[in-house]
């Protein structure tokens, strides 16, 4: 933060409060917080409570007369229905592979960009472009301009290479139907790597230079320095990247909707897309709600880990 770098170093602060606060002064403090708090509770928590309630009903809007309370049977369905089980699995595979690959690639790029080379600023600017392109636009771009078997960039380039070597034409591969999950993963890794790169680069540049210099003076090799100094320092940034990446990628809807429509069959249907289908194609509101609750529970598992990571960063900030 450019403007903030000039600030004087914070010193120990005097205690904020000197007198015991009265009820009135407490409310005066709370007042600016209330609009945001109330708005958030109304718009995010109430719908979730509603989802919980709906999830215990058998409710198809095409058969409104048959609406009745069924307890937890929708949940049994979520875990026994093949499509839904598949969706849970796909969500896991998609999220894990996208996050792991983009963190690794992002780390590599961040290490390269942490050093000086000609045009580094330009390289950084070009690198973050995939993250800034509208996700739906990016998905359409991959589907039509890159993976398309007839005039996509991928087969086009293959053709050009084949012709270069005298052959007539390259193979015409329909990438999306042949490799649906990898096609989806690659498009999403392309989109998320710059994000990871930016977080890790910020981490690298916050590294104290004197420690690195001391290591160099002591004769540590580049690999040793990386393993014993840089990597431990980067750990919390890597964790942050994994956590934020997981939260966003678990929710992936635009790419699945656009690139594969969950297909072929249900090979790439993830939970958000499956819920969408259950709601707007099958009109099974109860089932959709139950699946939604399952997604939330899954997210809470990730979130518990997330909170630990964020809390550690947070503690550092408040304790300085």
């Amino acid at each position: 933060m450019t403007t903030l770098t000039e600030l004087p170093k914070p010193t120990t602060r005097p205690p904020v409060r000197r007198t015991k606060p009265t009820t009135l002064s407490k409310w005066r403090r709370r007042f600016p917080l209330l609009p945001a708090l109330i708005f958030t509770i109304v718009v995010t928590q109430l719908p979730f409570v509603a989802t919980l309630v709906i999830s215990t009903f058998q409710w198809n809007i095409l058969r409104p007369d048959e609406r009745r309370f069924t307890g937890l049977s929708n949940y049994t369905l979520v875990f026994t229905d093949d499509r839904l089980r598949h969706a849970v699995l796909n969500t896991g595979v998609l999220t894990a592979s996208v996050v792991v690959l983009s963190v690794l690639l992002g780390l590599g790029l961040a290490l390269l960009l942490d050093r000086r080379f000609r045009g580094r600023g330009l390289a950084r600017t070009l690198l973050i472009a995939p993250f800034l392109v509208m996700p739906v636009a990016a998905a359409l771009l991959w589907k039509h301009a890159i993976y398309n078997p007839d005039y996509g960039l991928l087969n086009g380039t293959l053709n050009a290479v084949y012709r270069l070597f005298g052959a007539d034409n390259g193979p015409t591969v329909d990438w999306i139907s042949t490799f649906p999950m990898p096609a989806l993963v690659i498009a999403l890794v392309w989109q998320w790597t710059p994000f990871m790169m930016l977080i890790l680069l910020a981490g690298l540049q916050a590294q104290p230079g004197d420690v690195l210099e001391a290591a160099r003076v002591d004769g540590a090799s580049a690999v040793q320095t990386f393993r014993h100094i840089t990597l431990p320092h980067l750990r919390q940034y890597i964790e942050l990247g994994i956590v934020l990446g997981s939260i966003f990628v678990v929710q992936t809807f635009d790419a699945v909707f656009t690139i594969t429509q969950g297909g072929p069959g249900s090979q790439t249907t993830n939970l958000p897309y499956e819920i969408y289908l259950t709601m707007f194609r099958k009109f099974e509101y109860g089932q959709a709600a139950a699946a939604g609750v399952v997604v939330v529970i899954g997210s809470i598992v990730i979130a518990t880990f997330a909170l630990r990571v964020v809390a550690s960063l947070f503690r550092e900030e408040t304790s300085r």
């Binding site: 790029l109 392109v133 509208m134 771009l141 012709r163 320092h233 947070f314």
Partner: protein, 293 residues
Amino acid sequence: MSAQATATVVRRPRRRKRDDDPGLAPRLSPLWTFVAWLATLAFFAPVAWMVLTAFHQEADAATNPPSLLAPLTLDQFSLLLERDITPYLLNSAMASVFSTLLVLALAVPAAYALSIKPVEKWTDVMFFFLSTKFLPLIAALLPIYMIVKDIGMLDNIWTLVLLYTAMNLPIAVWMMRSFLAEVPKEILEAAEVDGAGLPTVLLRVVAPVAMPGLAATSLICFIFSWNEFMFAVNLTATQASPAPVFLVGFITNEGLFLARLCAAATLVSLPVLIAGFAAQDKLVRGLSLGAVK
């Protein structure tokens, strides 16, 4: 690494120097420079391809192998603009701008109550805000859809404004809090001792420090609203549809209009690309909820 070390290193002007001064950052060897550029170009290639195709005629866009040297034209853009994309862009702009303003109106006072004059248990409040980001949007879509339908607000810009506000508010509170926490307490107290009223303190002490943060927060909220797809596609139909819905809607005959698709994709991505390029460093901090400086 201790908290003290992180804080001081980030804060000292030296870090900027390491970025700018060629004497401080180690140099990349020529081989690795080549690798770095190769990787950069590989990542940028799809974007470059999108922009290039946008300036081609349909016939040139759909050739195999791809024709890099086909004549350039602005036809696709003028077709889009004079035909149909404008209302969608206006809807996007309205939903994003109004929601960003609403977010700021709610988040700035909240951040004030969480940092400068913190309420009791303010960390709990912070984590409550954060926890709402862990609720996947899709899980709330059904009740939201039903309520919105019941009160006749389907296909309405203001529905999107409210939902985008709820979606971005937690991030904005976190970001703004981390920016306001930068205001040194001593200065605030000194100002109060000197008899400055709240308006003066806010205007003279808080605002100058918080302004870049305010800009960064607005930028992040704008980007997220502009790019949002799920609410947009499920809650709007004809009147209020923003740009992402236009994108998926206009390819009727699959692939027939590749050049125009690329032109539309370029056009709708342009505001975010420009804003993002202009504020690269602020982007990281915002996206990591203020956790990474």
